[in-house]
Amino acid sequence: METTVTNTGTEGKTWGGGNKPLKVSYGKMMMWFFILSDALTFSGFLAAYGFSRFKFIDSWPIADEVFNHFPFLHGVDAPMYYVALMTFILIFSSVTMVLAVDAGHQMKQKKVILYMFLTIIGGAVFVGSQAWEWKNFIKGEYGAVETKGGQILQFVDKEGHRVALHDIAIVNANKDREQHQSKNGIWYESEKELPTYTIQEIRDGFAKKSDLLIRTQILTEKGEKTILSREESLKRLNTDAIGIVEGANLIHNEYGTPLFANFFFFITGFHGFHVLSGVVINIIIFFNVILGTYERRKNYEMVEKVGLYWHFVDLVWVFVFTFFYLV
């Protein structure tokens, strides 16, 4: 390159060229600015989540009730324990990453290999945990009823404990409504899978079991969901309810407003995609370390650069954790 540069006679002066005011390599600087732009993207998503939440501030789902599963503990109410564990796994993989960077500064190849390996494992466990969390959310737990206006009505007993649809419904054995598939009737028309119960079966069961009540999405001053009286419950179910919701997807969400599900899928999905790509990039660098690429290059700055990205993924999770699970 030097041969192509014209001498200006100002070398050595501040604006004479060849001056590196940020004292950092091009790659590392660009990684920082990429992270900055990515941080702004995530902020956009989280701020949009905040916007929607403020819009429905008195009827937003309570995260503790949505994410209360823990592996191998079926039916146990474990609010946030699992997501806290996931947070630890990610923070710990951040620690092993920074240890790898530190070992790289000291040119200790063996140590870099070990710490990079642990980082990759941590990342993979985290992505797996997120998939499990998604599975629980999509599958749902108790089921609910949706009204004409798109509001969600859930069922509780006298003590306020949630009651599942299968404990309410009186199944009509002579049900003549079947899922319409494209192989029947008009070949190009089909419909989605029908819910397990019809709204009429739920109405029948609800009318029979006099200790059941309906819980709406509206939050009380204490931050709990409003429970209607028996008369109001019956009225609400018989006049407003139009359908059954089991689990959550982008259109229906048994836990509350579909917006909650949309943002959950989008933001944790986008973050999970970052973790996944981080794991892939880490694996590439891991093999480069094993092959001795950076020993020959005599510096481990590549490890530092992917390390920056990895820490950023952790940084975003800290915010996602707060705004989805805590606040």
Partner: protein, 119 residues
């Protein structure tokens, strides 16, 4: 902990210290989130529960340590640090302010009952 590129002393002690710090803060957050102390929920500061303020402040505290210690921002030059951190801080603050204000406005419109949405 000024970072000097000329010699590479090991920072492992500081790394573990920051890890313990982040873990403790996370545990505190989870415990507060599970117990939800009544007085923190009932006290409202600038139209938000005190508990939520605590969560957000602790999150920013964690973010500071991740950026400064793990991402080694403390060792970068003032120019790089400011061009990254200030850009993010000012743009994000503005975005949050404008979106939350508008969200609250729409909430008020819904509440005023000009438009029925709970039916």
């Amino acid at each position: 902990m000024g970072h000097d590129t000329a010699h590479h002393e090991s920072n492992t002690k500081r790394i573990w210290y920051v890890f313990v710090l982040l873990s403790v803060v996370t545990i505190v957050e989870v415990i507060l989130g599970i117990i939800k102390p009544a007085f923190l929920i009932e006290t409202t500061v600038i139209s938000m529960k005190l508990l939520n303020w605590i969560f957000i402040i602790l999150t920013i505290y964690k973010a500071y340590y991740i950026t400064w210690a793990f991402m080694h921002m403390e060792g970068e030059t003032k120019g790089l640090r400011r061009s990254v951190v200030w850009t993010a801080v000012f743009l994000i603050s503005y975005l949050i302010f404008i979106l939350l204000t508008e969200g609250d406005y729409i909430y008020e419109v819904f509440k005023a009952g000009h438009k029925s949405w709970d039916f």
